[in-house]
Subunit: 692 residues, 2 copies
Amino acid sequence: MLDGLFRPRAVAVIGASANPYSIGHIVVRNLCQYGFKGPVFPINPKGGVIRSMQAYQSILDVPGEVDLVNISIRNTFVPGVLEECGKKGVKFAIVHSAGFKEVGPEGEALEREMVATAHRNGIRIFGPNSQGIQNADPEVSVYANFTFVPQKPGNISIIAQGGGMGEMLKLHLHNVGLGHRMYCSYGNECDLTMPEILAYYGQDEGTRVIMMQTESFKDPRAFLEAAAEITPHKPILAMKSGRTTEGSVAVSSHTGALVDQAAMAEAMYRKAGVVAFTDTHQMVKAAIAMSTQAPPPGKRIGIVTNTGGPGIQAVDEAVSQGLQLAQWSETGTAKLRDSLFAEASVGNPVDVVATANHDHYHAAVSTLLAEPDTDMVLVFFVTAPFTDTDAIATRIKEATAESAKPVVVVVETYSEHYGLIDKLRAADLPVYEFPEDGARALAAMASYSQLRGRKREEAPELDVDHATAAAIIGEYAGRDRYLPQHLAFGLLAAYGVPVPSVAAVGGEDDLATAAAVTGFPCVLKVDAADVVHKSDEGGVVLDLQDAGALLAAFRELRDTFTGDEVSFVLMEQLPPGRELIVGATASPGLGSLVMFGLGGIFVEVMKDVAAAVAPLSRPEARELMQAIAGYSVLEGLRGRPGVDLVAVEDLLMRIARLAADFPEIAEMDLNPIFAYPSGRVPTAVDVRMKIS
Amino acid sequence: MLDGLFRPRAVAVIGASANPYSIGHIVVRNLCQYGFKGPVFPINPKGGVIRSMQAYQSILDVPGEVDLVNISIRNTFVPGVLEECGKKGVKFAIVHSAGFKEVGPEGEALEREMVATAHRNGIRIFGPNSQGIQNADPEVSVYANFTFVPQKPGNISIIAQGGGMGEMLKLHLHNVGLGHRMYCSYGNECDLTMPEILAYYGQDEGTRVIMMQTESFKDPRAFLEAAAEITPHKPILAMKSGRTTEGSVAVSSHTGALVDQAAMAEAMYRKAGVVAFTDTHQMVKAAIAMSTQAPPPGKRIGIVTNTGGPGIQAVDEAVSQGLQLAQWSETGTAKLRDSLFAEASVGNPVDVVATANHDHYHAAVSTLLAEPDTDMVLVFFVTAPFTDTDAIATRIKEATAESAKPVVVVVETYSEHYGLIDKLRAADLPVYEFPEDGARALAAMASYSQLRGRKREEAPELDVDHATAAAIIGEYAGRDRYLPQHLAFGLLAAYGVPVPSVAAVGGEDDLATAAAVTGFPCVLKVDAADVVHKSDEGGVVLDLQDAGALLAAFRELRDTFTGDEVSFVLMEQLPPGRELIVGATASPGLGSLVMFGLGGIFVEVMKDVAAAVAPLSRPEARELMQAIAGYSVLEGLRGRPGVDLVAVEDLLMRIARLAADFPEIAEMDLNPIFAYPSGRVPTAVDVRMKIS
């Protein structure tokens, strides 16, 4: 439990100083200014007065118990001070000081020493090189952080790796008059980890929404587990910074890693039910909506407006974001017609017209909320000169009070009518400036509903020949090499992944035996680590109809591809099917990621790939297929047959299980797999597999 | 010239009233409150005092000349009043009143009568059912509009079809402390048209940027011409509302219209060099940057920050928007190293670190602006407690003052330091709240630079057989029918579009003659208006190697496809090539739109199509190809040959010329076209053409 950190009874500030620009000073000021409920003890070996408080020369001089210390002294002094803190019974130390892991080996050693000292003394370290923590719960009101945004209680908690980004999230909440619940920017994460803090937020009853920003995952598996525990009962909204730099989806199908950090984040977010964002402002706006509104039961939006254009903008954005326009029942339509002006439009959007008053708004909003096929409502209101804005706010509030469906309001007005916005916000209604923002916030809520409503299953045990697979891998483990193709196929076969008949070919003498295995027609391929695009490089001969053709092909390939590492493989020739690409990449700290796409241009040109964390449950396998834009090709287009989707699920589950069971598989690339309509199993036609 | 509208010497308000909620009252108030330089004359048949001004009973009683009247009286009274206005020499009438075209046939008749009366009296009508106009030029300061956003001079002019959207654009400029130049929301557009107003804005020296919102184009060709005149010297930023409702890209390749209103807008914007937006807020933010910053010479961005995370966000967004990260010269890097703290990072982003002061910012920004390979700079600044924000603003201003390259600033701060933002804005620097906003604004400017820098050429005359084409079309014009396939191919051939040898087949007796034309192997196809997807429906037999096979195929098709309208066609069989789809749709008021995509899943699944206005110049033909995501397939992927791009340009130019020359071609769908590497011309393999 992190109560000692986020709900400390007393805080000591080690490195407190009279210099108003020092971190130690600012932390003392923030703690006092925002009314920390316990005592604050400034510590400075020279003593002195800091913000009218007498400083203690050592923490050992402080009367009573201290749960938390903020430390902003020179890096090398930290371990010594922690020894004293241990004697005092301190439980948590926020280390603001820099000069640790981030500066090289010496700092790294110091960081290790600091953690060891802390643990020996029963202390957990937050940081170092960190901003600090806050908890705006009025019962605690702790601002043990050196930043500047005023603290005010709210129900959105923030966890950020970077201080600049964390502060930005908090700042925007402040700018729209909202506060936050807990806040932390965790810096080096040397001891106390992000997943531990996330789990703590998850259990905090005062936290309704969690916003997080991450640059890199130190322990992705722990994050995944913590997040998955939370999302069934409260939303996590997340951004992964660096999606393009280290990050843009690497899809060159054969070469290098098939998945990257950004893909890893995407896969983890999907698996854990986290709502992912790429834009800071959009995430904050969605969080604001979720902090007061319940997730919608579906994705059908109703829109009320008093002017046409912004209503159209809301429709455009809502539809672009995957929402659907709701349709009213006959009763609903009649009710709208009865209660609105004759010139009002009772379609969707409902245009109550500019002269509509508060009662018209009440009628429109409450009618839409009562509609069984409407899941959420966006209200647009431009302050026409003839409307009573106070009454508008009151009546919209009344209309929404009884409904569990989410409502957002977009107000077009200027400073004279800001009271309207304040009043709507006081009624717990999210208010935005542009119609697109309202539509996007609702769409984010619908995404959360969809993620939360998914069937969650454990990946099942499968009937596999683990021993054979282990034997193949055992022979190559530690050699960081590609498996010969016939062994790679053997490995797949051991895990029940359908493969063609295949036989290794060392020389001309092997051809007859090999052909007996594969039959005719067959395919002869070169098998060498440095021949990545076999077909492009002329290393594949198809349609070999008899022994003569096979011999001729073999001689040609053998003359073309020379070298110690080159061998050849003969394979049964399969009828052409829909090409799939499935890859897996070992992802340290997480396990293995499975990548899925369609063959050819889908991956190469359209970069249409998705990734998931191995192993996969059946619903996760389907979800991975559905995550690509080309999914409709698999379902079947315009009457043309699709592929056996359940068989592809099976295939994905088996490949993912193999990757999960053997982290030694650094890379696995099944390209292509031929998939067929029901009646024929999808089969891996080519495979590359690297064992580390 | 529209000076009488936007620079009137005197304004009369007909329908002025003492009721403060009436339009007539509000217009009088706005005119007076914002200091219109000429006299304002309230007109009310009952006389009376309106805002301390004596009302005149008729415009004829007003002393002196009146250029402009605002009319908000009952619809049926308008024509009568216009007669009086004519006697008075009024030049422009803004009609706020509704009850015209938008209410049905009676209103439409009244609207026609009003326009006729106006024209007879030398008056142009703005509206009806319109908000009005503004010109914040201090020499005029006319607020002849009944809305509420305070007027302040600026250099961004706004033209909006919808009042709600126009006001929203103006409102946001106001909210960030900016004003605007001219403004209008034009309503029914019964007389004075949007393109006329746009042209006026284009010639106004005080207008540096134009923002426009449109729901539908009354005269698209006039818009295209007006916009194309303006964009070489000032940017037009535009939104088309309704991009999804009437609007989402219709790409079912054979059926219905191949292009829609949204595609039309996209095509016109690209041709005219207009920067297109789908998000209101993004457009406003881009306009703000363009109102003070010059377009960048290229797309390489340099970033300066004092905290890491937001710098990464800026990188992510910049790269996603098509910008490139600039690289510094050795001199530049050395200069950064010399002038910044040792712990600063001198890559891109330059991280000056949180303790950096104003001089560090000055050094970083001025160094980047001096770099030859940096086209624009984004400055991020979080107000650390130890910085002198006033000095920061001053030094950033100094660093940017001498450079013509655009700079945007993102400031992370709260109300205590808003003075910093004001000071930066006063120095003509655009200031944003989120790093993504700064990156997007710069990316929009780079788009404008790219559009402005394109080679502009007229579509050339081509060597075509117009007479043959006219004869074929003449025979079918007015019958709203599909051309028989052999005639459609003949039409294409007349315009130099390569087609296979083709012959119509009526019955078995024609087979021998037809086969003599096409040779073997050949392809037999059904030709019927209601067989849209011939292959899917079994209406195409490929690979006919001899007369026997042909006869058998013919008999089978004839038995399968029956009916009066069914005929058959025999075609030369071409070697398979890269499939292209080219379509054209008559687009009333504009001419014809040409649609381009790649065959199969590119269009059907990925909706990867682009549209252009016919006819096409050679650069426009290439631009149309480059507008699709799959363009790299045409260039050639991973060493595989691409297609002859110049030959595809030729093809597109010929098809576009045909569409442009014959507006009777309601729809034309060449699907597929086989394109080949150089040495073989791309050839249309199937065509459907509907003549209206």
